[in-house]
Symmetry: C2
Subunit: 348 residues, 2 copies
């Protein structure tokens, strides 16, 4: 029982161990300690060993703040996730993508800084803060849009940037290609091979560049193959997907196959169909642009595009390290595949 009643808990109470403490104990200067712990040449092996010994003994850890002040890199990559409400349909994608990013970064001793933003303006503000504070060495940008304001700001600041699903390139900005057109063709070919010639695509948010790419590929396939195709905007709000489904089915010439831009949209669609008494896949086939656990457990199970988001994350991280280090980093290939399940079959 000491007399510190009323003392407020202070996390900083333990005085920090510094290189000066180590220097004193080891009988050298703090400069020597710095050299030793950083593995630079300038001290004898014996001295270095002794210094490292003392450092370990004292549980020394370098002061991140001091190192940053001296210009050390943050060894951190930033990623801003856009508003949760908007991305619910893509959450599985995000989780996998992040897992891939982290696995590559952590191999190299880098970490990932995540933040959520309510809108694109907030996202830009976060990037500016990160850069000004030197908290990140570079950032990853998802879901690029046409004339994306984020990219303009990042390019103007000259900050290392990787755009996932983009196309532009510069000294400080690289793009990781995402084959939206190819994926759409994969889906369409699958349906076409089954015999479908009236296909509808319930798209996602059209402000995203990838949505436009998908729509273009859809149209192109339809034209080239004589498919009667139709596109309808769905956004990420599942109730829109429901409305779209109803309208499509109410048509005098309803489609025999529906492609939904996300698994959440596909679920909304499939339950709407079941409410309308439309059998899947007997009456209508359904494909989800995103595979998830739910696709596997639903009844019927959903044919889905499996995008390998983990690999995509790995590639994005590798590209970033390459951009920062100016040296090549291994590139795994990303492959999208269509997982054929119960929700697609030949039309009657």
């Amino acid at each position: 029982m000491t007399g510190d009643h009323g003392a407020v808990a202070d996390p900083r109470r333990r005085k920090r161990v510094t290189i000066a403490d180590i220097a004193e104990r080891a009988g050298v200067t703090s400069g020597a300690v710095s050299i030793a712990v950083n593995g630079k040449r300038g001290v004898s092996d014996a001295t270095r060993a002794r210094i490292l010994e003392v450092a370990k003994e004292l549980h020394w850890r370098p002061s991140h703040a001091a190192q940053t002040l001296m210009g050390k890199n943050a060894e951190t990559i930033g990623l801003v996730l856009s508003r949760p409400e908007e991305v619910i349909g893509e959450e599985i994608f995000f989780a996998k993508f992040i897992a891939g990013v982290q696995s590559v970064l952590s191999e190299r001793g880098y970490s990932l800084q995540l933040q959520m933003a309510a809108d694109i303006a907030a996202e830009i503000a976060i990037h500016e803060n990160w850069i000004a504070d030197g908290r990140v060495d570079g950032v990853l940008v998802l879901d690029p849009r046409a004339e994306d304001p984020r990219l303009k700001v990042l390019a103007a600041l000259g900050h290392p940037t990787i755009v996932v699903g983009g196309e532009t390139e510069s000294d400080t900005l690289r793009s990781v290609h995402v084959d939206n057109a190819g994926s759409m063709r994969l889906i369409m070919q699958h349906l076409f091979d089954l015999g479908h010639t009236r296909i509808a695509y319930v798209s996602g948010d059209q402000s995203f560049w990838h949505t436009q790419q998908r729509m273009d590929a859809f149209s192109a396939f339809c034209i080239d193959n004589g498919v009667w195709g139709q596109t309808i905007a769905g956004n990420f709000d599942p109730s829109l997907a429901k409305d779209a489904t109803r309208r499509l089915l109410a048509s005098p010439q309803p489609p025999t196959a529906l492609v939904y831009d996300s698994d959440v949209m596909a679920i909304a669609g499939i339950s709407t169909l079941s409410g309308l008494g439309v059998a899947v896949p007997a009456d209508v086939s359904v494909v989800s642009w995103e595979d998830s656990t739910t696709c596997q457990v639903l009844h019927p199970t959903l044919t889905a595009l499996n995008r390998d988001a983990v690999t995509l994350g790995k590639i994005a991280a590798a590209e970033m390290l390459q951009l920062l280090a100016h040296e090549p980093v291994e590139h795994p290939p990303v492959h999208a595949a269509i997982v054929h399940r119960e929700s697609t079959a030949a039309p009657r």
Copy 2:
């Protein structure tokens, strides 16, 4: 055209504006600048105005590293998310929780640092790094377990911690209460009122403390009300939920109502039931412990426990600010409610 051909892009090329630059331009010392920009007393209003003017003109931003070195708080709260694979069923919970946390933190100028960890050991390592680097002022811990190793480490380090769904309290650790027992009673009462007397609970991971609380409340309700209750471990793997569902329905005395610990598990369960030709809710009622968009679009729509995770996040953030500032912060109440949809009805 300068002669910098071959120059490598360097994000730090623009020399940083410091308070010394401001001091020079304003004709004062850097000490005066520091006082002025921090709103402290010690300079005349005129001088302060001039200094702020120059600071804005020069686009000055304080060096985060230097401020941290001087002992400034990070004004950042940390949150580690456990492995994506495990939490898929809780993702909507996470997204909402994080949104709530951020809304309260940003009001006070705090930010949230997120990181994903593969397991609990990795999570502990992240916490230790954060603390050693002074990157966060405190951390939020989710999904406490019995004898949780994370809490031991954090308590030993004396680092401000808020445990969501915990019970322990100390100088540096507070718990936000989550009424798992009450929620379970809500669900059970709903089913009991409908007339169900044979109810099964497909639980989540039993290493989580909240699972134990739910199981205990389940048993207590059954005993008190003469309900024939059964608990079966489901984990977060939906295939386990499927197996559990099959086993329960194969029983000579199958339950008339099933409670699943997450929406993903409930979806797995409901599609298993439909595969077995069991009608919901005609033959069996189903409740999901977690509301989500999917619960609303599924056919039948799912009766679910709506937990108001946004508010829970707000409370956790408010508790943290309170712990750090030693002053009370407004507390919104969290309320869980059961959303009655199509999947529950009276037993035949």
